[in-house]
């Protein structure tokens, strides 16, 4: 593979404003129930009595997640048509809309919810890393739109050299399942992948 592009998410900076999500929705002209990028809010903790005083360990943090263009994607493996494919040049995973039959197998398999069925089109759709922008040297629209500069995009090796190698915190799955091309700067309150002390507190938004 020539290159593997990936995303960087700074969960310490992200305020959950969802500009990325809306910029994507606007640029890709997505219907109401399809979001190529979603902002997950993971929160938990409570108050404990310590003698006469009460202290809290309440935490909340955001993770802006789109397709992670995994090195070992679950979606392409189950696709019966080959419509869901990984570009050998960029490592970006995309759907060939002329081939997809809308069987939703990729949606069943992906642990990030990246492939989504578009009722209007009768086939699957997903984040393609704004491949046409990347091809002309620009970055994906979500990255450009972030007012906190909490997102970045580039060759994953460069991102890892720059930002580290954390690819998962709760509620994301352990990286071993699909080897996501994702680097996270964990929020100071971040819990490890697999954590159950918190919960997703914006389920209807994602």
């Amino acid at each position: 593979m020539a290159k593997q592009y990936g995303f960087y998410v700074d969960s310490a900076k992200c305020t959950g404003c969802k500009t990325c999500q809306l910029a994507c929705k606007d640029y890709k002209d997505l219907p109401a129930d399809v979001n190529f990028r979603r902002v997950y809010e993971y929160a938990g903790g409570s108050w404990q009595a310590t003698g006469e005083s009460w202290n809290n360990d309440v935490f909340a943090y955001y993770l802006s997640i789109s397709c992670n263009h995994c090195a070992d994607p679950a979606c392409t493996k189950v696709c019966p048509t080959g419509a869901m494919h990984k570009s050998p040049e960029t490592g970006l995973v995309a759907v060939n809309g002329d081939v997809c039959i809308g069987c939703k197998s990729c949606q069943m398999a992906c642990p990030y919810g990246a492939p989504q069925y578009d009722e209007r089109k009768g086939r699957m759709t997903k984040c393609d890393g704004c491949a046409e922008r990347v091809a002309v040297g620009a970055r994906p629209v979500c990255v450009e739109s972030c007012p906190l500069r909490a997102l970045d995009f580039g060759p994953i090796e460069e991102l890892r050299a720059k930002y580290g190698t954390v690819g998962s915190v709760a509620p994301l799955p352990p990286v071993r399942f699909t080897q996501p091309s994702l680097v996270i700067n964990p929020n100071p309150n971040a819990r490890a992948s697999g954590d159950r002390s918190g919960s997703l507190i914006n389920p209807t938004e994602v």
Binding site: P80, V99, C100, M108, Y112, P173
Partner: protein, 283 residues
């Protein structure tokens, strides 16, 4: 996921039933010592198996967003389980119809038709295996367990046995005894095994969770739905066993109604299966 997957619920239950019924008919044709007339009557009656499987496939197309290009699903044959399922499944139905047609029209030598029957068996087993393989996704912990192949095999046995018994009766096959009593006995064993599989599954669910989902909470009505399923299965099984016990021949209409209720029971179970979908991650 769950009831909205109704095309897949219908497809998997009907297809697995056809697989089970064919296996019984294959056993009868190769090991049953049937006379030529009996063989011919059974092969004619087996049209029901092929119609059942074909109906399943037709219903499965309703699951697709773009059914008119459903043929694309064969593109990754030998590389993706779903492609294998579609190819082996349609070849199974095609071989079955071809065998039925050849027998009716007297096309080909008996040896050739026997060869076709064996080919149909191979396709039938490959179909069931690839259908199972599709659901063993490493990222879907509630499906990626040995209980999934067990559940599919048991549906094939339960549904297949009642359909086969009805076909044997339609073809007037009374002997040997294992064809008269075998289906109900095997179905009874399968229903008992299904109880064990269900208990094993409900015991395993609390251990399956992500940061967002708990498998045990995905189907709050798990107990009630499985209860309904087993009421349906045990009711029909009781009536069926009683008839065989008293030496009564299974009337075709009775067999067909037993089949409908047994398949409904299996469809309730399959609905629960789809409702248990969750991934190791966000969805």
């Amino acid at each position: 996921m769950g009831w909205h997957e109704w095309p897949l619920i219908l497809f998997t239950v009907l297809a697995q039933t056809a697989v089970g019924a064919f296996c019984w008919c294959f056993a009868a044709l190769t090991l049953g010592g049937l006379d030529d007339a009996g063989r011919a009557r059974l092969q004619r009656a087996m049209l029901a198996v092929w119609l059942l499987a074909a109906a399943g496939f037709a219903l499965s197309a309703l699951h697709l967003g773009s059914p008119w290009r459903g043929i694309n699903a064969t593109f990754r044959f030998l590389r993706a389980p779903l492609s294998n399922e579609i190819v082996f499944g349609s070849a199974f139905v095609a071989a079955g119809f071809a065998g039925w047609w050849a027998q009716r029209r007297g096309i080909g030598s008996p040896g050739l038709r026997q060869g076709l029957l064996w080919l149909t068996l191979v396709l039938c087993l490959a179909f069931l295996a690839s259908m199972t393989a599709f659901y063993l996704m490493p990222t879907v912990p509630t499906w990626n367990t040995p209980l999934t192949p067990a559940a599919f095999l048991l549906t094939a046995t339960i549904g297949g046995s009642i359909v086969a018994a009805t076909l044997f009766s339609a073809a007037g096959i009374e002997q040997p005894r294992w064809l008269r009593e075998g289906p109900v006995k095997l179905a009874a064993l399968a229903v008992a095994a299904a109880v064990l599989v269900t208990l094993a599954q409900s015991a395993s669910l609390p251990a399956i969770h992500s940061s967002i989902h708990e498998a045990a909470l995905l189907t709050p009505d798990y107990g009630a739905l499985m209860g309904l399923r087993f009421v349906l299965l045990f009711t029909v099984l009781g009536l069926w066993l009683r008839g065989v016990w008293h030496g009564r021949t299974l009337a075709v209409g009775t067999g067909a109604s037993y089949a409908v209720v047994l398949l409904l029971g299996e469809m309730v179970g399959r609905g629960v299966f789809y409702n248990l979908h969750m991934t190791v991650g966000l969805r």
